[in-house]
């Protein structure tokens, strides 16, 4: 490609893109800096993207002396891992069946699935169902209701539709049954789209707090990091919508709720942010493909 001359247009554009990067990253860096700054010092204000009085005390508080937050951290990890694995198994299996042209009820099952994207019972009937199934305060409430998402199945299915059908036919002639075809041929070929959906599922599981709020509020064992953060946020909001100024004088110890909040925010953010750049190339194609088809 021939090198172009930089016009004013390019310079303005570059400046704008740099501005976008700054306004996206600044809030995260600011929170990281506050979480790594001495709590008493933070109350003086003026922390931007660099801690002034560096300390790990806020993190030590979470991982060292607060059993509940530690438990919430592990519950977040557990539900993310279990939910992602079960979700992937369920949606690839369903997508595979739907992609098979020789399956008789293909149309009916597909219709039942797609319809769920447009109608839903709503909050109350869903709550009643979960209660009737005995899933209140049960780990299953994080897994069963979230097992299948029509959107994800459609994306996987449209990927599978593009696989050459001859592969399956030749495997069949070699005596492979449907399960062997599925696990040995289809799954390995679908790895890019599976990676995308795994990311979506993991993000969804890791970020959920409302199901905890609604269905597992009274269970200490099932609390998650997001829910604990939400509770802190809620308490802060009830007092005035702005806690820093009030707490400034009150805090005598090493940490304050504001600093702990920032540290939890970082712990709740970092795991997800570490994976997505690696999967980026998959989800960009996955998302566009899915969107174009549906």
């Amino acid at each position: 490609m021939k090198k172009r001359k930089w016009t004013t247009f390019d310079i303005v554009l570059t400046a704008f893109m740099l501005f976008m990067i700054v306004i996206t990253l600044y809030p995260f860096l600011n929170i990281l800096a506050i979480s790594l700054n001495n709590a008493v010092d933070t109350a003086r204000g003026g922390i931007h993207i660099w801690p002034r009085d560096f300390t790990f005390a806020n993190y030590q508080e979470i991982f060292g002396s607060n059993d509940r937050l530690l438990q919430a951290f592990f519950m977040s990890i557990l539900r993310t891992i279990v939910g992602t694995i079960t979700g992937i198994i369920a949606s690839t299996m369903l997508a595979y069946v739907l992609s098979r042209r020789d399956f008789v009820f293909n149309g009916l099952v597909g219709f039942l699935l797609v319809l769920t994207m447009f109608i839903s019972g709503g909050l109350i009937p869903e709550y009643m169902l979960i209660r009737q199934l005995g899933l209140i305060n049960d780990f299953g409430v994080y897994i069963w209701p979230l097992l299948i998402s029509a959107f994800n199945v459609i994306i996987i299915r449209s990927f599978m539709d593009n696989l050459p059908i001859a592969l399956e036919e030749s495997a069949k002639m070699d005596g492979a049954n449907d399960f062997v075809i599925f696990t040995k041929i289809i799954i390995p070929l679908c790895l890019p789209v599976i990676a995308t959906i795994a990311l979506f599922l993991a993000v969804m599981q890791w970020n959920s707090w409302f199901d905890t709020y609604l269905y597992a509020r009274s269970s200490e064992a099932l609390t998650t990091l997001q829910f604990e953060l939400m509770k802190i946020l809620d308490n802060a909001n009830i007092s005035s919508g702005d806690i820093t100024s009030q707490n400034a004088e009150v805090i005598a110890g090493q940490t304050n709720p504001q600093s702990i909040k920032m540290a939890i925010t970082i712990i709740a953010t970092v795991p997800i942010l570490m994976v997505y750049p690696f999967l980026q190339k998959y989800f960009v194609t996955g998302l566009t493909l899915g969107a174009v088809k549906s």
């Binding site: 996206t24 995260f28 299996m93 595979y96 019972g121 953060l229």
Partner: protein, 286 residues
Amino acid sequence: MSFPFVIWLIIFKYIPVAGWVMAFQDYKPQFSIFEQEWVGLKHFKDLFNEPMFYRALENTLGMGILGLVFGTLSAIAFALLLNEVRFLTLKKWTQTISYLPHFVSWVIVANIVITMLSQEGIVNNLLMDIGILDRPINFMAQPDMFWGIVTAADVWKETGWNAIIYLAAMAGVDPQLYEAAKVDGASRWRQMWHITLPSIRPVIIVLLILNIGNLINIGFEKQMLLGNNIVAEKALVIDLYALDYGIGMFRYSFGTAIGIFKSVISVILILICNGFAKRIGEGRVF
């Protein structure tokens, strides 16, 4: 292999829809759904007589429309500009970074927004440095600013992600069109306006239809997490209303009626938009 999933669909997706009958009964938890007393449209009448409901509806539509307009415009504008960046490394980095907020939860975004807008936060500092403000204001305690704050937070979180689809559509535009425009002496702005934008018009319209259909389904997460007692009047949306009055006050039938109202409105909206798109001969959803 699909059998267990059909069962799953029926249990988790279709039984709740069947639960709609609750809206026409006086649901009492101690009885089964078949033993309830039928009351016809009583709960719907109650709903339409409730002033709070209209406030919730107004807030939902207000924030929904603001989100739709600014969300769509910012995503298209961002995609258009990003599409013009010739320096590929910058393009890639900007795009990757722009997705970042999409992946964090609303709990975290709400936390970030409240921190940034607090009296010691960067926004107040900046406005004071420039001289627009004399003393810091507590943004989160201004009812009139609540819709704007929610919309801004939404734009910040989702612009990069929403731009993906427009960028993909732009990648499919025939390069010959640009060559021809260049020969005719069109500037970069004119090329964006007369070639890129018209080329992605079908995608824009399909997405608009889908989003308008969901106008009433804006959810409650942002409002619940960003709201507080002071701005409650502006933060009450339909789903929060259903949550507070339905589950919170054990008025299950009333809460279900709210859900049905929402579904009906969203189906009507999507049919209207689809019909409209058909009439003007543009891409449509079905």
